[in-house]
């Protein structure tokens, strides 16, 4: 009996002691910028006593569960002064922290543990790009371009000269999931790819993930570019106005209800059409016509954020942007009349309603309802009439073409942080896709009586459902060993066919002595929609199309391993190797192209792609002088049964060496210098090696036809010349009490390198006057787009 009582006492004592020792409370809240109330993404919260920490999520929310007792919290964020908060933790506590921007970034030093460092994160193959840095870099025609900055990162390659599309680790541009406030964006470029649609004045955070994808992301094989819009200033009104060579932009933000509701509206429009209009009209008049022509693009971002309580926040955001080209002419001589009208327009509309709810200090949810639309429309009309001897001849032709994609989506994400060792995320996403793969509408009327033709040609609209579920845990197994383990399930319903996919994800980090992190990751991905694009240039006519019964979904797996360390607290160094395999990648068949009207599924073929390489990234994020050096050594291959006779060939964007050097030097408060230099191995291109002639049994019975064959040794058999370019910029800054003026000057392609854009075999004819003979000479001509392009930009911030 005594023995039983003793045993019971011991057990109860253990339970009580264990209970006491496990008595933990949760500190949670938001971290925001003191001046604007803007939530800070990825800010670090670290308890110096327990050596435990947390990082704020994309909505600025953090949660840290600690044992009861004294805590010394250090809250820090790059570019902001740190804050230390000490108190006794006796209960679950809501602690909203505001940080102040540091005037002297270089002077700020914090302990290694209190700073969020690359070696502390489980995630590898990820880069945060400060928006300030994007804005500081020189750019083409002075148009600050987020995507062109992304192209400067290792593992990321640009496409053709000046294009905004990017290629990550041997993948194609459609394999990049580009999210604007969590909403997928389909066409991210203006002016045939030369500028991206993202207006950096309205953006707060940019993150690129190239591998080791956490389970919360899915739907694309190669990368995730997560772009977050600013919420708007909660305390006071601010704005900025910029005038550049080709566009002007303006942003206004401020409180609707102070500390509760904020708004931000930002717009950009090119104005070359206004300037050119009088000249164009005059040109028409000179030719005896009346007419007008022009091109412009615009972007409009708007967002309202409302805080209902400490627990509930609502965000409404919208983006609308278009490229518009128009042409019209009218010509009349006596009884002859001719009218011509052309319109080409493409753009995106994106809208999101988002609700953040804090269920408890440990549980946070985000529910989003989104709409994303990409549309392309052309409208061509031609009309003429002539009266001759009382008879009227007339012709009226009209051709419309429309294509696009509409998405409606609902997703819910839960963040559960039970203790500092675990950060669990789970959620679901449901998307309804509505594809319009291209429809022509032709109207035609001819003659006095007229035989009207009114017909539609092209592809049927396609609808599809995409659903995804995920769960992941960022798990600190020991002080040195961390892992992110996740599972992503997705399904796609198209026509009568349903596809399923279970995608395991794993990232591991082991911290060696000396704070050197070894990292490794494995991720499988699946992609159900793809861009049918002509291989050599990016056009708005490129079509987003779904997986069907005939066209299978794309799959990939990727392993990556490497090391990371922060040197001297300010220079991040990472070295990574990767191997990626992609199945069912899509390509046009040989001889197929965009100007064909047969079923698109008959024009494409699917095959295999694989890529491997190594990336070195040295990034100095703090100080007067910031910037990075990136080097990539890579190989990218493709293999299709229907292409290159089934043999493997280099992918168009196989680039053996890729170097980027990016630098911003804040000489003083008034002058900032910036520069970028890039080098890349030439693009692979298909050109005939030789020509030969022969015959083929053909024609009438017994006949033969002479043949001329362009012989290609293999697909992508030719290397364009290497690409390299230097851009330089200088900002003159003048600060006053209520406003700051920045005058930027610079040049794109400073030494006017003739970088290849397009190649063509051309015939040049020579006529000899003396012998009256003409000879023809063939030439391979390389066209470049941009020699040195200077720019200026004037910006006022108030």
């Amino acid at each position: 009996m005594l023995l039983k009582k003793t045993a019971l006492f011991v057990i109860l004592s253990f339970i009580v002691l264990a209970g006491i020792s496990q008595e933990k409370y949760t500190i949670s809240g938001y971290i925001s910028d003191k001046a604007s109330g803007e939530k800070l993404i990825g800010a670090n919260v670290y308890d110096q006593r327990s050596r435990s920490g947390a990082v704020s999520n994309v909505y600025g929310f953090y949660s840290l569960t600690l044992p009861a007792g004294e805590v010394d919290l250090v809250v820090s964020y790059v570019g902001y002064g740190r804050k230390t908060i000490s108190f006794t933790l006796r209960k679950d506590t809501t602690l909203n922290v505001t940080l102040e921007q540091s005037l002297e970034i270089g002077a700020v030093t914090v302990t290694a543990e209190a700073t969020r460092r690359i070696e502390h994160e489980t995630q590898m193959s990820m880069t945060d790009i400060p928006v300030k840095q994007i804005q500081a870099l020189p750019s083409l025609l002075g148009e600050t371009d987020l995507l062109k900055t992304v192209q400067l990162l290792p593992g990321v390659q640009s496409g053709s000269e000046g294009q905004s599309g990017f290629y990550v680790r041997g993948g194609s541009p459609d394999q990049n999931l580009i999210l604007l406030d969590g909403v997928p964006v389909y066409n991210v470029s203006h002016l045939f790819g030369f500028f991206s649609i993202f207006n950096t004045s309205a953006i707060s955070d940019v993150k690129l993930i190239k591998g080791g994808f956490p389970a919360r992301y899915g739907g694309r094989l190669s990368s995730v570019l997560d772009i977050r819009m600013k919420d708007g200033n909660l305390h006071e009104y601010h704005g900025d106005v910029s005038v550049g060579l080709i566009s002007a932009r303006a942003t206004v933000e401020g409180p609707i209800v102070r500390d509760k509701t904020s708004f931000i509206v930002s717009g950009r429009r090119t104005y070359a059409d206004f300037i050119a209009r009088p000249f164009i009209r005059r040109g028409f008049k000179r030719d005896g016509e009346e007419g007008d022509a022009g091109y412009y693009f615009y972007d409009l971002n708007a967002k309202i954020t409302h805080t209902f309580s400490q627990k509930d926040r609502l965000f409404l955001s919208v983006y609308n942007g278009d490229d518009r080209f128009h042409f019209k002419s009218h010509y009349q001589v006596e009884d002859y009349k001719e009218d011509m009208k052309n319109k080409l327009q493409w753009g995106n509309t994106i809208a999101a309603a988002r609700w953040n709810h804090v269920w408890s200090g440990k549980l946070f949810s985000n529910t989003t309802f989104t709409y994303s639309k990409y549309r392309l429309g052309t409208d061509m009309a031609y009309k003429y009439s002539q009266v001759s001897q009382g008879d009227t001849t007339r012709e009226d032709t009209r051709l419309d073409y429309t294509s696009g994609i509409d998405d409606l989506a609902l997703n819910m994400d839960l963040d559960y942080i039970p203790d500092p060792a675990h950060y669990i995320r789970a959620g679901f996403k449901g998307i309804h896709h509505d594809f319009n793969p291209g429809v022509f509408h032709i109207g035609y009327l001819e003659g006095e009586e007229g035989m009207p033709v009114d017909t539609s040609l092209g592809q049927k609209r396609l609808a599809a459902w995409e659903l995804a579920l995920y769960a992941e845990d960022d798990w600190r197994i020991t002080d040195n060993l961390k892992a992110n383990i996740g599972l992503h399930f997705s399904t796609f319903l198209t026509g009568n066919k349903q596809y399923y996919s279970l995608q395991p994800r794993l990232s591991v980090r082991y911290l060696l002595p000396g704070d050197v992190a070894l990292k490794a990751s494995y991720a499988t991905m699946r992609q159900y929609i793809q861009l049918l694009a002509f291989s050599s240039i990016g056009l708005p006519t490129d079509l987003w199309l779904p997986t069907t019964e005939k066209v299978k979904p794309q799959d990939s797996w990727q392993v990556a391993a490497g090391g990371a360390k922060t040197l001297g607290g300010i220079v991040e160094v990472s070295l990574e190797g990767y191997y990626k395999v992609m199945n069912n990648v899509i390509s046009y068949k040989e001889g197929a192209g965009m100007m064909q009207f047969n079923d698109w599924q008959e024009r494409v073929t699917q095959g295999r792609g694989w890529a491997y390489g190594m990336e070195l990234f040295v990034n100095k994020k703090k100080g007067k002088w910031t910037g990075w050096v990136g080097y990539t050594l890579a190989w990218a291959w493709r293999q299709f049964d229907d292409l290159n006779f089934g043999k493997k060939f280099y992918y168009t964007y196989d680039r053996r060496h890729d170097i980027s050097v990016v630098s911003v030097w804040e000489i003083n408060d008034h002058i900032h210098l910036s520069g970028t230099w890039v080098y890349g191995t030439g693009k692979a291109y298909t050109l005939p090696n030789s020509v030969y002639y022969g015959f083929f049994p053909s024609g009438e019975p017994g006949g033969v036809a002479e043949t001329e064959v362009n012989y290609y040794e293999q697909r992508n058999n030719y290397r364009m010349k290497p690409y390299h370019r230097l851009d330089l910029g200088i900002d003159f800054i003048r600060k006053r009490k209520h406003w700051t003026r920045t005058f930027s000057l610079g040049a794109y392609n400073v030494y006017s390198r003739k970088n290849p854009f397009y190649m063509n075999i051309e015939n040049e004819y020579h006529y000899d006057m003396q012998t009256s003979t003409e000879t023809m000479e063939k030439q391979l001509v390389q066209y470049s787009l941009f020699p040195i392009i200077p720019y200026f930009n004037l910006n006022f911030k108030f």
Binding site: G591, N689, E700, G702, N763, P787
Partner: protein, 330 residues
């Protein structure tokens, strides 16, 4: 700072003064190529005369006034059997004074030859420079042959082919007024079965021609709704492979628009089915696609034309044909 700014501007001005600084196009060297022999030789089982073209290739930027300048008439062109015996030695053709003929044997659809037609070869082309007259039809079904071309400057080029078996088809029938075409005229249909041998990959080429009472003759422009058929290079031929009907009898249904329904006219329609080697099939398909891409001209993926010549370019292909007279559907 002004110093830095003005130094930069001077640097830019200096660069700008360089020749072609702002030029955005330039001539660049073409891809390298290997000079080699180009051979075209097509052998049909019932051929009694073989024609070949032997020439050399040129770089993609080289231009020539006359393609005949590329012909290699001093080459040795031989067809060898599996044992290495020369079965055909081709002679250089007298290109100015030669009339070429193609002998076609007409069968009744049951393997019996009922007629022989000698067609003159039109547009024989400037590229045929070798011929061989055979004492009897080439034959050789199921046997492997090697083409060998030896040239003192370009070395030796070769290719091997197996002569396919003659295709087995059922009696073709045609319906001269099966329906109306898009232009309001009659369209006719042609139907027959191909009996496909089992367990092997087979490729077929189908053509049909019409011979009128007055002697006029022309190939019919065949069309079909059957997705298994693919267009072939040249006119009026369709290609088919047996992937989906291996070892079975496959019914071929074709359409054509030509006028054959005049009761006063006694026309005859002949169907020609060839068993073609895989190399022939790939060459004809890719040549067709390359021509189509050339016609479209822009925004189209380049096409690689298949070839099977080792240490050279071009095609050595074998076909075996069956020709049958179609009967009018009752």
């Amino acid at each position: 700072m002004n110093k830095i700014f003005f130094t930069g501007m001077i640097f830019l001005v200096l660069l700008s003064s360089c020749e072609n600084f702002f030029q955005t196009y330039m001539e660049v060297p073409p891809p390298p190529y290997k000079k080699g022999i180009v051979v075209n030789l097509y052998v049909t089982d019932d051929d009694t005369v073989l024609y070949a073209s032997v020439s050399h290739n040129i770089g993609s930027l080289e231009s020539i006034k006359n393609v005949q300048d590329l012909l290699l008439c001093d080459a040795t062109v031989q067809v060898l059997d599996e044992a290495g015996n020369v079965v055909v030695e081709m002679d250089t053709l007298d290109m100015d004074n030669t009339v070429y003929y193609d002998t076609i044997y007409i069968g009744d659809g049951n393997g019996e030859i009922t007629d022989t037609v000698l067609y003159p070869v039109y547009n024989a082309g400037r590229m045929i420079n070798f011929q061989a007259h055979l004492p009897s039809p080439f034959g050789g079904q199921g046997e492997k042959f090697t083409l060998q071309v030896i040239h003192p400057e370009y070395g030796t080029a070769s290719a091997s082919q197996t002569m396919p078996s003659k295709p087995v088809i059922t009696q073709p029938v045609y319906n001269p007024s099966a329906g109306y075409n898009d232009y309001g005229g009659d369209f006719s249909t042609l139907r027959f079965d191909i009996v496909d041998p089992a367990g092997e990959e087979n490729f077929y080429q189908v053509r049909a021609w019409l011979k009128g009472e007055d002697g006029r003759q022309y190939y019919l422009d065949l069309d079909t709704d059957d997705p298994l058929f693919q267009p072939s290079y040249g006119y009026y031929a369709l290609l088919l492979q047996d992937k989906t009907f291996d070892g079975d009898s496959y019914t071929v249904q074709l359409k054509f628009n030509d006028y054959v329904n005049d009761p006063a006219e006694n026309v005859r329609i002949f169907v020609e089915v060839r068993s073609v080697s895989k190399d022939y099939y790939l060459y004809a398909r890719t040549l067709e696609k390359a021509e189509e891409a050339e016609d479209i001209g822009f925004f189209v993926e380049p096409v690689q034309v298949y070839d099977n010549i080792e240490n050279g370019y071009g095609i050595f292909a074998m076909t075996a044909r069956t020709v049958a007279l179609a009967s009018k559907e009752k």
